[in-house]
């Protein structure tokens, strides 16, 4: 099948977020494919490996150096990629990002689209769902199991939402977002990493998508970013395990008043 996977480049989850003058310092950050998007890539690869044939295309909106992250996805086995790379997309919020992704998908051919449940930078959990609405496609969110019907015109999904599990069906094409549990993503092989260098990545700008940058104005503005409030220093409880356990219960009750 022709599958498109939406991938976002985010700081490695190991990153300590440094803040200077109300902004996140991005120098020196190492970037990864957002972990939920990795599940989406893995699922797309598995679907085509099982069916034999087909194509997996990565679609990423990001600055110039997002190419490096796109190559990581190609190294996993995706066939090619589209890089939405234009300063006009740069300062967009989720509303703008979704509009640009939707405009790109309109130019592409696909049987369905996979994405992550959320990108682990701003934790918005909205871009993929917005794209579905903009393209008038159905969506299923937070999927941990995906089964295609024999005729590939529909799919049955198990979702994990708010601690519940439910089963949903959808017609295809649709946008399906991945939740942890969908699969175990592979590591890139050496051959994959070498091969990725030769795989095609096309760049599309606003003009290629027929988008007027003036229509790409954000609805939201991030005024500033601050570190989370510092926690007061804690105390270690003295004595052996039993003594400390009893003292803990007393403190939770009398000092912290949480039980």
């Amino acid at each position: 099948m022709n599958l498109v996977v939406l991938i976002k480049r985010v700081p490695d989850t190991e990153t300590r977020i440094q803040i200077k003058e109300g902004k996140v310092v991005t120098d020196g950050i190492s970037w990864i494919i957002s972990p939920y998007d990795e599940y989406a890539v893995e699922e797309a690869l598995r679907i085509n490996e099982k069916l034999g044939g087909g194509k997996v295309t990565l679609l990423c909106l990001g600055p110039n150096d997002a190419k490096e992250t796109i190559r990581k996805g190609l190294a996993l086995g995706a066939d090619d990629a589209v890089h939405l790379n234009d300063p006009a997309f740069g300062n967009g919020d989720a509303t703008v990002t979704a509009k640009v992704l939707a405009a790109a998908l309109k130019k592409m051919q696909y049987d369905f689209v996979l994405a992550g449940k959320q990108a682990v930078d701003e934790d918005n959990a909205q871009v993929a769902v917005r794209v579905a609405e903009l393209l008038d496609l159905p969506h299923v969110n937070s999927v941990i199991k995906l089964e295609l019907a024999a005729d590939k015109q529909s799919a049955q999904c198990t979702r994990e939402v708010d601690g519940d599990r439910d089963v949903a069906t959808t017609t295809l094409p649709a946008i399906i977002t991945a939740q942890q549990g969908l699969n175990e993503p592979r590591y890139p092989s050496l051959k994959g990493i070498m091969g990725a260098k030769k795989k095609p990545i096309v760049d599309w700008k606003a003009a290629d998508l027929g988008l007027d940058p003036a229509t790409l104005s954000a609805k939201l503005e991030t005024v500033r970013v601050d570190p989370p409030p510092a926690r007061p220093p804690g105390k270690k409880l003295a004595g052996d395990a039993a003594t400390a356990a009893k003292e803990l219960v007393r403190l939770l009750r009398e000092e912290a008043k949480v039980i």
């Binding site: 977020i17 917005r130 017609t171 804690g234 270690k236 219960v249």
Partner: protein
């Protein structure tokens, strides 16, 4: 557009979720400052009682879409029906609970109406005629202040942050809303319930988590027991989840659940940055770890350097004793 605030109330099996009452508290403050009123909306099957409860919260109008077509979640049908309500109510802001349901429906409706969504808000201000919100990003490693460049805006508010509003004497009118006729190309067909006794992690007041130090599925038995005594939800580190000792839906952290309970107890968890991201805004944090240098102790209000399996039996007995005295 007016100055009203519209609450989208989430229900579960015919009962409003607690976060719906928390939204009333938020909407009340916003409406007062913007000089508008509060209205509320509920969608589902058999939700007349929910509409009735909402009508007693001080809102001036309840919109109620009650239909078998809304028995199970169908994003397109819910979004189209809600969009009709929003067009009619013409509010300055639309509030959802920042639950999976609220965030998903909010995103779909937002795209339909070309509105911005500020997700997972923990605080807000009315400033210069618009709304400004604080929201954790990078799973809590930083806090962003986000301003709506124009109203209306959609916001989802984190559960357990704002106090729930009480019911009053007034009774607002309930207007029945017709379900949109759009086709449900995707829809939930069946709910597979989790264990009845389990408490939802995201909403729990107390969370008790185990990590690699728990060593096995059996190692989680006293952790489950502790959770039961405290009425807590059980969480886990990724190491425990990856080892298969507990279901991955319990993972707390940057790629798991973000939790902010009154009390978080971490047992045999080292405190990796991805784990801390998901729980460090908890009110009180307790850590039990053999290693005095484990990073979790830097986040903990109370730390015990000891083997968790020496601590747990005494802790469980002592808690049972103390809680029965209440």
């Amino acid at each position: 557009m007016g100055n009203n605030i519209l609450i989208v109330a989430e229900e579960r099996e015919g009962t409003l979720r607690k976060v719906a009452y928390e939204l009333v508290t938020v909407a009340n403050a916003m409406a007062r400052e913007l000089g508008g009123a509060m209205e509320a909306c509920v969608l589902g099957n058999g939700v007349a009682a929910c509409a009735d409860s909402l009508a007693q919260t001080g809102v001036t109008q309840v919109y109620c879409a009650d239909s078998p077509a809304l028995q199970h979640f169908a994003p397109e049908v819910f979004a189209a029906t809600l969009a009709d309500v929003i067009r009619q109510a013409a509010p300055a802001a639309i509030l959802f609970g920042a639950t999976g349901w609220g965030k998903e429906l909010g995103a779909r409706v937002a795209a339909k109406l070309d509105l911005g969504v500020v997700a997972d808000c923990v605080a807000f201000q009315v400033e210069g005629g618009t709304l400004v919100f604080q929201r954790p990003i990078y799973a809590g490693k930083a806090i962003a202040t986000v301003r709506a460049k124009a109203l209306p805006v959609i916001a989802s508010m984190r559960p357990n942050i704002f106090p729930p509003a009480p019911l009053g004497d007034a009774r607002a009118p309930v207007q029945a809303v017709a379900v949109s006729a759009v086709a449900a190309r995707s829809q939930v067909i069946e709910k597979v319930k989790k264990e009845a006794a389990a408490v939802d992690l995201a909403e729990a007041k107390v969370v008790v988590s185990g990590g690699r130090g728990a060593k096995s599925t059996e190692g989680f038995v006293p952790i489950h027991e502790l959770a039961k005594i405290l009425g807590a939800a059980v969480g886990a580190s990724r190491a425990a989840v990856d080892a298969g000792w507990i279901d991955y839906s319990t993972q707390v952290g940057q790629t798991g659940k973000t939790v902010a309970p009154q009390l978080y107890i971490a047992l045999g968890i080292s405190g990796a940055i991805q784990h801390l991201a998901g729980m460090s805004s908890s009110k009180v944090i307790v850590a039990v770890n053999k290693d005095p240098d484990a990073p979790i102790f830097q986040a903990a209000d109370y730390g015990i350097v000891a083997d968790m399996f020496d601590v747990l039996p005494v802790l469980n007995e002592e808690l049972k004793r103390v809680l029965s005295e209440k």
